[in-house]
Amino acid sequence: MITIPEAARALRSGAATSRELTEASLVAAAALDADLSAFVVMDSDGALAAADAADEAIAAGRDLGPLMGVPVGIKDIVDVAGLPTRCGSPAYPATPAATDATLVRRLRRGGAVIAGKTTTHELACGVYSPPVSNPWNLSRIPGGSSGGSGAAVAAGIVPMAIGSDTGGSIRIPASLCGIVGLKATYGRVSRAGVAALAWSLDHLGPLTATVAGSAAALEVLAGPDPLDPSASPRPVPQYTRSLDRGVDGLKIGVLAGAPLEPMQPDVAEVFASAADLLGAHGAAMVGVEVPELEHGLAAEFGIVAPEAAAYHRELLRRRPDQIDPGIRALLVAGLMMEPEHYFKALQARRAIADALRRAFVENGLDALLTPTLPATAALNSADDFWFGDSAEPVTLAYVRTTGPFNLSGLPALSVPAGFDRDGLPVGLQIAAAPFDEETALRVGASFESVAGVSSRQPPTYSTGVVADS
């Protein structure tokens, strides 16, 4: 499969048609998904009809934008008219959604081709996304909760898939699957028509093979929405315009201390090399500590539990036997905890957001780097990571480095940074100031161009059609 910029060039030059790209996606899904389980449903008829419409538009000289004619996957918590929204749960009905979510409407308006819906961890609440496998190693998890989206893009089935991110659910699969994941600023992408996990922490965004694809996708996805009161009215910049500006003159923080430790040694090595590489290409690198981030997990789950319980309370009362026991325990706790605990977690979020703002402002930072995750992809069967003599649940280990940017609402991008000794991908997380996705993408594109990591393909991969890239 080709990337979004390659597809755009191929479609406009006549080297490929949207129908060819879409058929390649459908063939790749049929060939690979028995191993990956990345999709819960493919919409072949709808996708081919949309592809033909895109081809007609191209032939008529109309340009609907960077995703015109590009097949995409949609996480199965997002409403797509005519397809059910099952949220990875047997408790959700198979009745089709009546209308599109706002972001799906934006994609269709931009000429994108909805190829199918991708597997989510149940209720978007987890990092394993069973039964999805990681294309780099089928015995490893793809991450979650947008695990199907991560696997689908990493395996080359589609150039872009939508994910949601409440505590890392775009960036975790991006990191573990060796692709690019962007959680934009809270409010940058509408949440209307998307099943919630925690309203005040939920973000939507793209998983793509390249940073340029991520920037192009955000240009289509971002914008105000009267159906989502949290959607920002700020104008949407042209995110692709700054991608080739490099990092010379930027000041970039390198996070140390909480919440990064403990960390796998290979991840620490890749992270240090990534920071050195950006420094060598002209960025001023400065070490930064934000001790308040030590409390990120307590704040994150202190908000997720009551908000998720409020959203799913009827499901919890009527069909609790159809909810995974771990998620059920979270929902029960969320219903039973006193309001004091919720409001304390909200206050902690404010304190953490303020601490990150101070770190940016007082150090004059344009961006802040962390490893996306302290560990690479866990085995499907693993409950815990072992860091030396101490065990840490896989879920907590992953969320502790990503969650702070849900709490603060800051944009955060994960790009492939290297590999561990087992050949599993390691991600670099690049956070920026509110609504400054442009800088995060600029740093990510610069790193991508000099690191040479993104060109590696996993063992489970579809080459699809060949374009004149």
């Binding site: 930027l250 789950f301 905890m337 409001f343 304390k344 206050q347 304190a351 509110p434």
Partner: protein, 84 residues
């Protein structure tokens, strides 16, 4: 040992037994399906409340930051990093 009603069901509850109190609270909330395990719920709740208590180091018990108007943007553009 004192016994109280949970306000919904008639059976008395031992209000010194946290598991019984948890069970009563769960019933009051409509969580009365057989899959619910009050003992496990109480243990889980205790763990989460302890986790919440760890936030006291960050947020004072009374007062503290106003959490109700969360907005990810910073107060004004002068606080944005240089060159932006």
């Amino acid at each position: 040992m004192p016994a109280v009603s949970d306000g919904v069901h008639d059976e008395p509850v031992d209000n010194d037994d946290p598991v019984e109190l948890t069970a009563a609270r769960m019933r009051a909330l409509g969580l009365d399906h057989e899959v619910f395990d009050p003992a496990a719920a109480w243990a889980d709740l205790a763990q989460r409340i302890a986790q919440s208590a760890s936030l006291d180091a960050l947020v004072s018990r009374s007062g503290g930051p106003d959490p109700t108007a969360f907005d990810p943007s910073w107060p004004d553009d002068s606080q944005r990093p240089s060159g932006k």
